[in-house]
Symmetry: D2
Subunit: 433 residues, 4 copies
């Protein structure tokens, strides 16, 4: 069966590379992946999957860091102009850009796979030395670029979908393909978990491409990402003339300064590494006016969800008290979050066995990247229900450009490799379970 999967993967790889380049060309940032997600949904429908999109797979209350209404609308109109699927666009309006497709035998086990779809606010390089520019698929949406490889992930997802349909008679269970919005800023996964999308998944697979690992290098199960909370805090006091009535103000800047010092002074935690950062502070109006407002852009991290929860709760207490101290109101807006989660070694070994049979992979250690991934929300949900989850990293090097830079690029050879790996692993897991 491995051979048949590999053959299909090779056969369709040019088409799938085409998908990737199309997504790359029309890059869309988190919660605005209207064109991408609607075309994904349309294609999955064509392949015969049961497809659900929009509010059914995105719980509104769990979304984080959603752009303003105006931005959402402008992006939605752009998606319509750029060829998005009209029918699905209607379902997704307002930032409900998730898609879930399933097929197979509901009596058997369920293998879930997550593919993230969003791009970044990066302006793509336009020189001839940048392959997407040279080949004509650089982003036409100025200031937005697939600089982290999610276009590749999305295309792989469609490829896996096609392979599994073709070998579908061999499926001894169920497949669930999850296309997630807004992974950047760790904003989207929680809303799909909140919608119950993961509640029937027994094996969960996730995969990220890396531009600085040699093509085919693979970490079968990554660990050690920080749990994290991203949030904005808005302090509102009241202005006063600093010369003639200083005592009449409620100084939001003093509240903010007090908070900044005390946020950074939150104690270390015995259970593991912690982090806190106020990345941005904007306060005040005129030189001679007691500052009536302050806006803080904050994140906490923890080696474990427990540590991060501690940091977040302390941070909220600090901010609330600083506001009270200076007669200010406080509003906190969640802008993103991830949990800490480890891959199940048992599942990682299963994938590894398949991969080594297929060939083309070189195992490598998965040193923690120091970053965060909201796929951890999905892993945690599956694991908490007794399922197994693993998050893989796969190398796809073209040159030296790092993730999130304007000349980031990915070796498209990885697409065929990854499609085969995920499809074969799915068959293997359902066969033996």
């Amino acid at each position: 069966m491995d051979d048949r999967v590999k053959a299909i993967a090779e056969r369709i790889s040019e088409k799938v590379v085409g998908y990737r380049r199309d997504f790359h060309r029309y890059a869309e940032v988190g919660w605005t992946e209207f064109r991408t997600a609607s075309l994904v949904a349309r294609r999955l429908l064509e392949l015969g999957y049961d497809v659900e999109a929009g509010r059914g797979v995105i719980r509104e209350a769990d979304r984080m860091g959603v752009p303003s209404h105006d931005v959402l609308e402008a992006c939605w109109r752009r998606a319509r102009e750029q060829g998005g699927d009209v029918e699905f666009l209607d379902l997704m309006r307002g930032g409900f850009t998730g898609v879930v497709a399933s097929c197979g035998d509901a009596q058997g086990k369920t293998v879930g796979m997550r593919f993230d779809m969003d791009a970044l606010e990066v302006t793509e390089a336009d020189g001839a030395e940048h392959p997407p520019a040279r080949e004509g698929f650089a982003s036409v949406n100025h200031g937005v670029m697939h600089a982290c490889g999610h276009d590749v992930h999305t295309a792989i997802g469609l490829g896996v979908a096609e392979i599994l349909r073709e070998v579908g008679d061999s499926l001894r269970g169920r497949v669930k393909l999850i296309f997630q919005p807004a992974e950047e800023g760790v904003r989207g996964a929680r809303s799909m978990v909140g919608a119950g999308v993961l509640d029937d998944v027994d094996f969960l697979l996730g995969l990220h491409v890396y531009s600085r690992w040699k093509t085919g290098q693979i970490a079968w199960g990554m660990n050690g990402g920080f749990a994290t909370s991203k949030f904005d805090a808005e302090l509102r006091g009241s202005p006063a003339h600093a010369g003639s009535a200083p005592h009449e103000g409620n100084n939001a800047l003093l509240a903010a300064a007090t908070a900044v010092l005390n946020l950074h002074a939150i104690p270390r935690h015995r259970a593991g590494a912690s982090r806190i950062n106020v990345g941005r502070l904007t306060a005040g109006t005129g030189r001679n006016v007691v500052s009536p407002t302050a806006h803080l852009v904050v994140e906490t991290r923890g080696a474990t969800t427990t540590v991060n929860d501690f940091m977040y709760e302390q941070a909220v207490r600090v901010l609330e008290s600083a506001a009270a101290m200076h007669g200010c109101t406080l509003e906190i807006r969640e802008m993103g979050a991830a949990q800490s989660a480890d891959s199940d070694p048992e599942l990682a070994e299963r994938v590894s066995a398949v991969g080594m049979r297929l060939g083309g992979f070189t195992p490598r250690d998965s040193a923690p990247t120091g970053g965060s991934e909201d796929f951890t929300y999905m892993m945690t949900r599956v694991q908490s229900r007794g399922g197994l989850a693993t998050h893989m990293g796969v190398g796809a090097r073209t040159g030296g450009a790092g993730h999130h830079t304007s000349d980031f690029d990915i070796d498209e050879e990885v697409i065929s490799l990854a499609m085969a790996l995920l499809a074969s692993t799915t068959l293997d897991l359902l066969d033996s379970s």
Copy 2:
């Protein structure tokens, strides 16, 4: 009548100087003036006054900065040993060391006079160049000294009492002599106001001697003292091992540090000068223990009661919020307070006219001393009921030593001058009102 008053004053002055030296020798700090006050009460009773002492003239809830039970008891026993009046001592036990004596015609107006009785925690000089030591009346209570002249005030009060009894047939109204505890630290006046002592006073006279003004120099009506609040704040968190469990502590020292900075950052007030000081901070236990407690010794001041109230309310808000920020409890103990109050120019002029008639006085401006006086509580109460009040300063220089120093001394000539002034003024006020 002035002449008669002067004659009596001169005649009794040696005796009154004797009172002063006796009080000086057995100096007692605020709320422990058991011996002094009980002897004052006894003497006033002997003179034929209606005398009230203890809880009837001291409202317990309004006392501030009262020593511990143990200290009160020890001082009370010492007073008994040093010849205090046994009967009055019983009334005063527990720190109720106020005395009020009245006589005259309740149908007429009432002239009130305030005399404060407490000494300071200063160790008196013992060299021959220090008159009290040379003359043998230096304090025998080690570490306690009349270094601000309240012994002189108390003696003057007894002298005035005697003069007014002698000329009592001429009194066209009522006299009320108020002997107050705990003026140092501005702790006592409020409790006598709270007991209603001032509620029937029409004219209120107060007087303070100054060791650095020439004897006989006088300010007829002083203004400009700061309103002030003195208080202690106790923050209680919880300890934790700073190495193995830093996150388990509630750090009272961090709360205190946050409070200290924000207390000093309370905004200036348009309506006049303000002050804030954290004079002492004691926090923590061991080097490797998260600090579980912090004790702050604080005062606010304001050019007016309004400004001081603003400072105090802000200070409380800062402390409460700093406590909440670090999971600590907060206890605030009032330790003293004064209001801002101005002497009534009309009354000051009346006194001035009497004084210039009597002779021996040289008027001077009353530059604000930068300090505070709790006589202001009494002034404010009288003024708020339509009465008039004035606070006089009288020079009594011996050498150069300042108030509150261990070689402070007072020219006893001032006693005769002041007795005559207060007695004549009383007669004058009652005559013409």
Copy 3:
């Protein structure tokens, strides 16, 4: 002579009102008064004055709060297009928009007068109820408006110049007319003092119109403005990834927060009221980046220059230490300054006598406005050399709009009154000195 002056003033007043409306229509903010100043210089030259403009009367090192090169150039080009005097424009290029004109007998005393010329960054009202809009002289320079009456001051200066030339044979000394840039933000006066413009002035007169005093109400000598320092502080540290390398950053935001708290905690000063305000703080870049920069917009004030100097010196020490604490560099840019200065009562009385003779004025007290004026730099210089100075306030009410608002307006009747007052006072001072 008063009558002759009054007659001339009345005769030329329509022309001078025309000047005022022209300046109003082409409003220019501080250091960009290229058109206004060049036309003032041209007119004074036509009247026969010795005129100096540009770098000779503006010391470059003493300028504060000068706009960027690009802004200066754009405004300079606009001035050329809007009819500025080409010759003087060349002298003023780069922001040297001061003009000094003198005439008379250098052997005699010198009377100096200051007129400020700059407008504000306010967008002028355009409704029919706003007289300048209705009459067609509202500002054509969008976002810039004479909302404080400096257009009126400048016109008055030209009127006085014309009157004094006409009666010039009677001048028993010298007249010096000083047209100052950038009074708003107290940025310009110091540079004219620095250039030595005030060094030969014996009597200095300044005048400000007030839209909320009845026309003709006048304060002959105003006092009590705050000395002030306006400055920006730029902290520069170094960024680092807040998750993977927090220890590698130099956190400018922590430095700024530490500074903000300690700036507001600078102690009160015995010698008088003080103020401090951080009106704006902008720090940081991304949420997950240790903040590499922070920009603070600050001002200090003091009841006296001594108090303000104390506040400023303490503020600099706080900022320097906060920068050092977090490994940041600090750059402080002076953006404006004023001193405290009192009008000489002797001179105020002289002006008052003239004014009462002329008629049309009603004296009023000059309650401190709570603001600051950089004319104080000039007053201080003249007074320090033995001269006399006074700063007058004159009412010119049309309705209720306050200074610095978009519907601010001035009763043009004040122009004739003020021209006559300044011209007659000049003659009077030179006659009798």
Copy 4:
């Protein structure tokens, strides 16, 4: 040879237990171990060792946390009265209470062993349920107690010395017995390293008894202690009257509060866990006096010496800048320090092999205690010169009392076990090297 060693150990164990009880009875805190150290030196001399004591083995500049001169002298006199060795006492006067004894063949390798001798400021329990009290060897020095087992360590050292002399003809190298003062507070080891004591050691053995591990449980090589710096910081400003001259003070309390917040806000380090604690802050004098002094008691920790060095350097920078900010001087006194150091697994295995041969030991994991040990200074020095070092933990349980408590007790059975282990290991190491 193991058997012979065991036999000697058993034979002399009663005597060595006697030593231990003697040391326990005359407990002495760090740098005042005059009696203990002088008797140790005397005994080693009697056994025939080359003995060096005092300044030759303690580098003065490297001592930390030394008591005041007066305390040192008082303890020294007490030691003389309590039977200390007069000759050695002279060498140790002033707090030079280290002893180094060596014997053997200087041509061979050198095995070093460290024994710490100091007690704690703990008042020993005096009830019959506390064995030392019941048996009559509880501390007679009130407030000082061997509550951490260093008396046992010292006795073991003397026992090992005796055994090795007895089997001395078998020694194929050199033995160096190091008796260290002031391990509590991690104050003493650095000064012995500084004196060069470790510079010729090839194998270094250290051992600590634990009252909560079963007797005989042993960790052959402990790791994971924090590197740490203990220091006091003294800020000195200048006082001023908070009411009349607040601007004249240099507020050490404000400096301290600023430091406290910024110390706790020192960033986390990527390379591992860090800690900071201000365990105590004492500042100020009177309520109405600007605080002229502040005393901070601080410690930093780091998972590695690098991390701790980072924390310490940042802490110094924070304190220096906070002092400068408020015009204060700063004095930092080092009070203790430890490094991070890991036992060499190779040496731990060698000891383990010997121990398992001797019998009586049960291996256990050595979970980090969360504390710090200044033996790490000695380990680091030996390792840096190519030698091997290990630090062992041995159980010696009597009941449940923890270290540093007043009813702490040690099972004396451990003495015989430990003597045999160290002596046999020494012979083994020298034999095979």
